[in-house]
Assembly symmetry: C2
Homo-oligomer: 137 residues x 2
DNA sequence: GGTGCCTACTTACCAATGGATAGTAACTCT
DNA sequence: AGAGTTACTATCCATTGGTAAGTAGGCACC
Protein backbone atom coordinates (compact mmCIF):
# COMPACT_ATOMS: atom_id res chain seq x y z
CA UNK A 1 0.00 0.00 0.00
CA UNK A 2 0.97 3.61 0.47
CA UNK A 3 0.63 3.87 -3.27
CA UNK A 4 -0.66 7.39 -2.66
CA UNK A 5 1.18 8.77 -5.64
CA UNK A 6 0.59 12.00 -7.46
CA UNK A 7 -1.65 10.16 -9.88
CA UNK A 8 -3.86 8.94 -7.07
CA UNK A 9 -4.10 12.33 -5.47
CA UNK A 10 -5.03 13.83 -8.80
CA UNK A 11 -7.66 11.16 -9.25
CA UNK A 12 -9.18 11.93 -5.89
CA UNK A 13 -9.16 15.64 -6.53
CA UNK A 14 -11.03 14.96 -9.74
CA UNK A 15 -13.69 12.89 -8.02
CA UNK A 16 -14.23 15.55 -5.37
CA UNK A 17 -14.33 18.23 -7.99
CA UNK A 18 -16.80 16.30 -10.08
CA UNK A 19 -19.20 16.14 -7.19
CA UNK A 20 -18.69 19.84 -6.65
CA UNK A 21 -19.24 20.63 -10.29
CA UNK A 22 -22.37 18.56 -10.60
CA UNK A 23 -23.86 20.22 -7.57
CA UNK A 24 -22.88 23.73 -8.55
CA UNK A 25 -25.48 25.05 -10.93
CA UNK A 26 -23.58 28.24 -11.60
CA UNK A 27 -20.95 26.22 -13.35
CA UNK A 28 -23.58 24.43 -15.36
CA UNK A 29 -25.04 27.73 -16.36
CA UNK A 30 -21.65 29.09 -17.30
CA UNK A 31 -21.23 26.06 -19.49
CA UNK A 32 -24.51 26.66 -21.17
CA UNK A 33 -23.75 30.29 -21.88
CA UNK A 34 -20.27 29.48 -23.12
CA UNK A 35 -21.69 27.83 -26.17
CA UNK A 36 -21.15 28.98 -29.69
CA UNK A 37 -24.71 28.50 -30.83
CA UNK A 38 -26.24 29.93 -27.71
CA UNK A 39 -24.52 33.24 -28.21
CA UNK A 40 -25.39 33.34 -31.88
CA UNK A 41 -29.05 32.49 -31.32
CA UNK A 42 -29.48 34.91 -28.46
CA UNK A 43 -27.87 37.76 -30.36
CA UNK A 44 -29.93 36.97 -33.45
CA UNK A 45 -33.09 37.13 -31.37
CA UNK A 46 -31.90 40.31 -29.69
CA UNK A 47 -31.16 42.04 -33.00
CA UNK A 48 -34.53 41.25 -34.49
CA UNK A 49 -37.11 43.00 -32.41
CA UNK A 50 -40.01 40.67 -32.24
CA UNK A 51 -40.18 36.92 -32.62
CA UNK A 52 -38.27 34.87 -35.15
CA UNK A 53 -39.27 31.63 -36.77
CA UNK A 54 -37.25 28.44 -36.91
CA UNK A 55 -36.36 28.84 -40.54
CA UNK A 56 -35.59 32.50 -40.01
CA UNK A 57 -33.08 31.66 -37.35
CA UNK A 58 -31.64 28.97 -39.58
CA UNK A 59 -31.18 31.48 -42.38
CA UNK A 60 -29.79 34.14 -40.07
CA UNK A 61 -27.22 31.91 -38.48
CA UNK A 62 -26.82 29.72 -41.55
CA UNK A 63 -23.80 27.81 -40.25
CA UNK A 64 -26.05 25.95 -37.88
CA UNK A 65 -27.43 22.51 -38.67
CA UNK A 66 -31.13 21.89 -38.02
CA UNK A 67 -30.11 19.42 -35.37
CA UNK A 68 -28.09 21.90 -33.36
CA UNK A 69 -30.65 24.61 -33.90
CA UNK A 70 -33.42 22.49 -32.44
CA UNK A 71 -31.23 21.18 -29.66
CA UNK A 72 -30.01 24.59 -28.61
CA UNK A 73 -33.44 26.17 -28.82
CA UNK A 74 -34.88 23.40 -26.65
CA UNK A 75 -32.27 23.86 -23.99
CA UNK A 76 -32.72 27.63 -24.06
CA UNK A 77 -36.45 27.12 -23.73
CA UNK A 78 -35.91 24.80 -20.81
CA UNK A 79 -33.73 27.38 -19.13
CA UNK A 80 -36.36 30.05 -19.61
CA UNK A 81 -34.23 32.14 -21.93
CA UNK A 82 -36.39 31.87 -25.03
CA UNK A 83 -40.10 31.22 -25.40
CA UNK A 84 -41.54 28.95 -28.04
CA UNK A 85 -45.00 29.53 -29.42
CA UNK A 86 -46.62 27.17 -31.87
CA UNK A 87 -49.32 28.50 -34.13
CA UNK A 88 -51.15 25.54 -35.66
CA UNK A 89 -51.84 27.25 -38.94
CA UNK A 90 -51.73 25.63 -42.35
CA UNK A 91 -48.08 24.73 -42.22
CA UNK A 92 -47.24 24.91 -38.55
CA UNK A 93 -45.58 28.09 -37.52
CA UNK A 94 -43.25 28.29 -34.57
CA UNK A 95 -42.10 31.58 -33.12
CA UNK A 96 -39.14 32.01 -30.85
CA UNK A 97 -38.64 35.08 -28.72
CA UNK A 98 -36.38 36.14 -25.89
CA UNK A 99 -37.96 36.10 -22.47
CA UNK A 100 -37.13 38.99 -20.11
CA UNK A 101 -34.42 36.78 -18.68
CA UNK A 102 -33.07 36.17 -22.15
CA UNK A 103 -33.15 39.86 -22.98
CA UNK A 104 -31.16 40.46 -19.85
CA UNK A 105 -28.61 37.89 -20.92
CA UNK A 106 -28.38 39.34 -24.38
CA UNK A 107 -26.93 42.56 -22.94
CA UNK A 108 -23.96 40.59 -21.72
CA UNK A 109 -23.48 38.80 -24.98
CA UNK A 110 -23.65 42.08 -26.81
CA UNK A 111 -20.90 43.35 -24.53
CA UNK A 112 -18.80 40.32 -25.42
CA UNK A 113 -19.44 40.88 -29.11
CA UNK A 114 -18.46 44.53 -28.77
CA UNK A 115 -15.31 43.53 -26.97
CA UNK A 116 -14.47 41.12 -29.75
CA UNK A 117 -15.00 43.82 -32.35
CA UNK A 118 -12.90 46.34 -30.45
CA UNK A 119 -10.00 44.08 -29.68
CA UNK A 120 -9.84 41.88 -32.71
CA UNK A 121 -6.95 43.86 -34.13
CA UNK A 122 -4.83 43.35 -31.07
CA UNK A 123 -5.54 39.66 -31.19
CA UNK A 124 -4.68 39.39 -34.85
CA UNK A 125 -1.41 41.22 -34.23
CA UNK A 126 -0.61 38.95 -31.31
CA UNK A 127 -1.26 35.92 -33.48
CA UNK A 128 1.01 37.17 -36.21
CA UNK A 129 3.77 37.86 -33.72
CA UNK A 130 3.34 34.42 -32.19
CA UNK A 131 3.29 32.63 -35.53
CA UNK A 132 6.32 34.54 -36.74
CA UNK A 133 8.37 33.71 -33.69
CA UNK A 134 7.49 30.03 -33.68
CA UNK A 135 8.20 29.71 -37.38
CA UNK A 136 11.60 31.27 -36.79
CA UNK A 137 12.55 28.48 -34.43
CA UNK B 1 -32.64 21.85 -64.76
CA UNK B 2 -34.53 24.35 -62.69
CA UNK B 3 -33.77 22.09 -59.77
CA UNK B 4 -33.42 25.24 -57.71
CA UNK B 5 -35.18 23.69 -54.79
CA UNK B 6 -35.13 24.77 -51.19
CA UNK B 7 -32.24 22.38 -50.59
CA UNK B 8 -30.16 24.06 -53.26
CA UNK B 9 -30.88 27.52 -51.99
CA UNK B 10 -29.94 26.46 -48.49
CA UNK B 11 -26.73 24.94 -49.83
CA UNK B 12 -25.83 28.17 -51.55
CA UNK B 13 -26.60 30.23 -48.50
CA UNK B 14 -24.30 27.97 -46.54
CA UNK B 15 -21.43 28.40 -48.98
CA UNK B 16 -21.79 32.17 -48.96
CA UNK B 17 -22.01 32.20 -45.22
CA UNK B 18 -18.98 30.02 -44.85
CA UNK B 19 -16.90 32.48 -46.83
CA UNK B 20 -18.28 35.27 -44.70
CA UNK B 21 -17.54 33.43 -41.49
CA UNK B 22 -14.01 32.49 -42.42
CA UNK B 23 -13.22 36.06 -43.34
CA UNK B 24 -14.84 37.57 -40.28
CA UNK B 25 -12.37 37.45 -37.44
CA UNK B 26 -14.86 38.77 -34.94
CA UNK B 27 -16.79 35.57 -35.28
CA UNK B 28 -13.63 33.56 -34.81
CA UNK B 29 -12.88 35.51 -31.70
CA UNK B 30 -16.40 35.04 -30.40
CA UNK B 31 -15.90 31.34 -30.92
CA UNK B 32 -12.70 31.39 -28.97
CA UNK B 33 -14.23 33.26 -26.06
CA UNK B 34 -17.31 31.06 -26.06
CA UNK B 35 -15.27 28.16 -24.81
CA UNK B 36 -15.76 26.46 -21.51
CA UNK B 37 -12.09 26.15 -20.64
CA UNK B 38 -11.22 29.62 -21.81
CA UNK B 39 -13.63 31.21 -19.39
CA UNK B 40 -12.49 28.99 -16.53
CA UNK B 41 -8.80 29.62 -17.15
CA UNK B 42 -9.19 33.35 -17.57
CA UNK B 43 -11.26 33.69 -14.44
CA UNK B 44 -8.83 31.52 -12.48
CA UNK B 45 -5.97 33.76 -13.57
CA UNK B 46 -8.03 36.84 -12.79
CA UNK B 47 -8.88 35.64 -9.28
CA UNK B 48 -5.30 34.87 -8.38
CA UNK B 49 -3.40 38.10 -8.43
CA UNK B 50 -0.04 37.24 -9.86
CA UNK B 51 1.02 34.39 -12.09
CA UNK B 52 -0.13 30.80 -11.82
CA UNK B 53 1.73 27.65 -12.71
CA UNK B 54 0.55 24.87 -14.96
CA UNK B 55 -0.09 22.48 -12.12
CA UNK B 56 -1.76 25.22 -10.10
CA UNK B 57 -4.20 25.85 -12.90
CA UNK B 58 -4.78 22.14 -13.23
CA UNK B 59 -5.60 21.92 -9.55
CA UNK B 60 -7.74 25.03 -9.56
CA UNK B 61 -9.84 23.95 -12.49
CA UNK B 62 -9.46 20.26 -11.78
CA UNK B 63 -12.03 19.08 -14.32
CA UNK B 64 -9.62 19.93 -17.09
CA UNK B 65 -7.40 17.31 -18.68
CA UNK B 66 -3.72 18.15 -19.19
CA UNK B 67 -4.33 17.99 -22.90
CA UNK B 68 -7.05 20.62 -22.93
CA UNK B 69 -5.17 22.74 -20.42
CA UNK B 70 -2.10 22.86 -22.64
CA UNK B 71 -4.14 23.33 -25.79
CA UNK B 72 -6.22 26.14 -24.37
CA UNK B 73 -3.25 27.90 -22.80
CA UNK B 74 -1.40 27.76 -26.10
CA UNK B 75 -4.26 29.29 -27.99
CA UNK B 76 -4.70 31.98 -25.36
CA UNK B 77 -1.01 32.72 -25.56
CA UNK B 78 -1.22 32.93 -29.32
CA UNK B 79 -4.09 35.37 -29.04
CA UNK B 80 -2.13 37.52 -26.62
CA UNK B 81 -4.50 36.92 -23.73
CA UNK B 82 -2.07 35.13 -21.43
CA UNK B 83 1.69 35.27 -21.22
CA UNK B 84 3.84 32.22 -20.66
CA UNK B 85 7.19 32.47 -18.90
CA UNK B 86 9.50 29.52 -18.52
CA UNK B 87 12.01 29.53 -15.66
CA UNK B 88 14.61 26.85 -16.33
CA UNK B 89 15.13 26.01 -12.67
CA UNK B 90 15.68 22.57 -11.23
CA UNK B 91 12.36 21.20 -12.34
CA UNK B 92 11.24 23.58 -15.04
CA UNK B 93 8.75 26.13 -13.87
CA UNK B 94 6.21 27.72 -16.15
CA UNK B 95 4.18 30.74 -15.12
CA UNK B 96 1.04 31.91 -16.80
CA UNK B 97 -0.35 35.37 -16.34
CA UNK B 98 -3.02 37.52 -17.91
CA UNK B 99 -1.79 40.17 -20.29
CA UNK B 100 -3.45 43.60 -20.13
CA UNK B 101 -5.68 42.41 -22.96
CA UNK B 102 -6.55 39.33 -20.97
CA UNK B 103 -7.27 41.35 -17.86
CA UNK B 104 -9.61 43.44 -19.95
CA UNK B 105 -11.39 40.36 -21.16
CA UNK B 106 -11.65 38.96 -17.68
CA UNK B 107 -13.92 41.85 -16.68
CA UNK B 108 -16.45 40.62 -19.19
CA UNK B 109 -16.20 37.05 -18.07
CA UNK B 110 -16.62 38.14 -14.49
CA UNK B 111 -19.78 39.92 -15.55
CA UNK B 112 -21.02 36.72 -17.15
CA UNK B 113 -20.20 34.76 -14.03
CA UNK B 114 -22.01 37.30 -11.88
CA UNK B 115 -24.99 37.10 -14.15
CA UNK B 116 -24.98 33.33 -13.82
CA UNK B 117 -24.85 33.60 -10.06
CA UNK B 118 -27.63 36.14 -9.93
CA UNK B 119 -29.99 34.41 -12.26
CA UNK B 120 -29.34 30.80 -11.55
CA UNK B 121 -32.45 30.53 -9.42
CA UNK B 122 -34.69 31.77 -12.18
CA UNK B 123 -33.13 29.27 -14.53
CA UNK B 124 -33.54 26.40 -12.11
CA UNK B 125 -37.18 27.32 -11.61
CA UNK B 126 -37.72 27.52 -15.35
CA UNK B 127 -36.18 24.08 -15.75
CA UNK B 128 -38.40 22.59 -13.11
CA UNK B 129 -41.46 24.10 -14.71
CA UNK B 130 -40.38 22.82 -18.11
CA UNK B 131 -39.59 19.33 -16.88
CA UNK B 132 -42.83 19.13 -14.93
CA UNK B 133 -44.94 20.11 -17.92
CA UNK B 134 -43.24 17.75 -20.31
CA UNK B 135 -43.47 14.86 -17.87
CA UNK B 136 -47.19 15.56 -17.53
CA UNK B 137 -47.71 14.96 -21.24
C1' DG C 1 23.77 3.39 -8.40
C1' DG C 2 19.27 2.49 -9.39
C1' DT C 3 14.52 3.23 -8.43
C1' DG C 4 11.25 6.65 -8.12
C1' DC C 5 9.44 11.49 -7.98
C1' DC C 6 9.12 16.17 -9.54
C1' DT C 7 7.27 19.41 -13.38
C1' DA C 8 5.22 20.25 -17.65
C1' DC C 9 3.86 18.45 -20.93
C1' DT C 10 2.98 14.81 -25.42
C1' DT C 11 0.95 10.74 -27.48
C1' DA C 12 -2.32 7.05 -28.42
C1' DC C 13 -6.61 5.48 -28.09
C1' DC C 14 -11.60 5.75 -27.52
C1' DA C 15 -16.08 7.60 -26.46
C1' DA C 16 -19.04 11.39 -27.14
C1' DT C 17 -20.27 15.48 -29.57
C1' DG C 18 -21.55 17.96 -33.63
C1' DG C 19 -22.33 18.35 -38.77
C1' DA C 20 -24.20 16.77 -43.38
C1' DT C 21 -27.87 14.81 -45.48
C1' DA C 22 -32.07 12.73 -46.03
C1' DG C 23 -36.53 11.67 -44.34
C1' DT C 24 -41.27 12.69 -42.07
C1' DA C 25 -46.06 14.69 -41.20
C1' DA C 26 -49.76 17.36 -42.59
C1' DC C 27 -51.42 20.17 -45.78
C1' DT C 28 -51.81 23.32 -50.05
C1' DC C 29 -50.99 24.59 -54.68
C1' DT C 30 -50.73 23.49 -59.56
C1' DA D 1 -51.08 13.36 -58.24
C1' DG D 2 -46.70 15.28 -57.48
C1' DA D 3 -43.97 18.90 -55.72
C1' DG D 4 -43.49 22.36 -52.14
C1' DT D 5 -44.21 24.39 -47.51
C1' DT D 6 -42.62 24.34 -42.28
C1' DA D 7 -40.51 22.42 -38.48
C1' DC D 8 -38.50 19.28 -37.26
C1' DT D 9 -36.27 13.78 -36.57
C1' DA D 10 -33.02 10.19 -37.81
C1' DT D 11 -28.91 8.36 -39.51
C1' DC D 12 -24.26 8.23 -40.42
C1' DC D 13 -19.68 9.92 -40.17
C1' DA D 14 -15.85 13.27 -39.00
C1' DT D 15 -13.95 15.90 -35.46
C1' DT D 16 -13.42 16.99 -30.77
C1' DG D 17 -12.35 16.12 -26.12
C1' DG D 18 -11.31 12.82 -22.19
C1' DT D 19 -8.39 9.07 -20.09
C1' DA D 20 -4.39 7.16 -19.24
C1' DA D 21 0.15 6.29 -19.96
C1' DG D 22 4.67 7.86 -21.51
C1' DT D 23 8.74 11.42 -21.84
C1' DA D 24 12.74 14.45 -20.43
C1' DG D 25 16.01 15.68 -17.16
C1' DG D 26 17.54 16.27 -12.78
C1' DC D 27 17.35 15.30 -7.64
C1' DA D 28 16.51 12.55 -3.38
C1' DC D 29 16.34 8.51 -1.00
C1' DC D 30 17.94 3.85 0.10
Amino acid sequence: MATTTAAERRQQARVEYDAFLKSCPTNQLLDRISDKWVSLIVSALADADGPMRYSGLGRRIAGVSPKMLTQTLRSLERDGIVSRTVTPSVPVRVDYELTPLGANLSCLLTAVKDWAEHHIEEVVEARERYDASSEAS
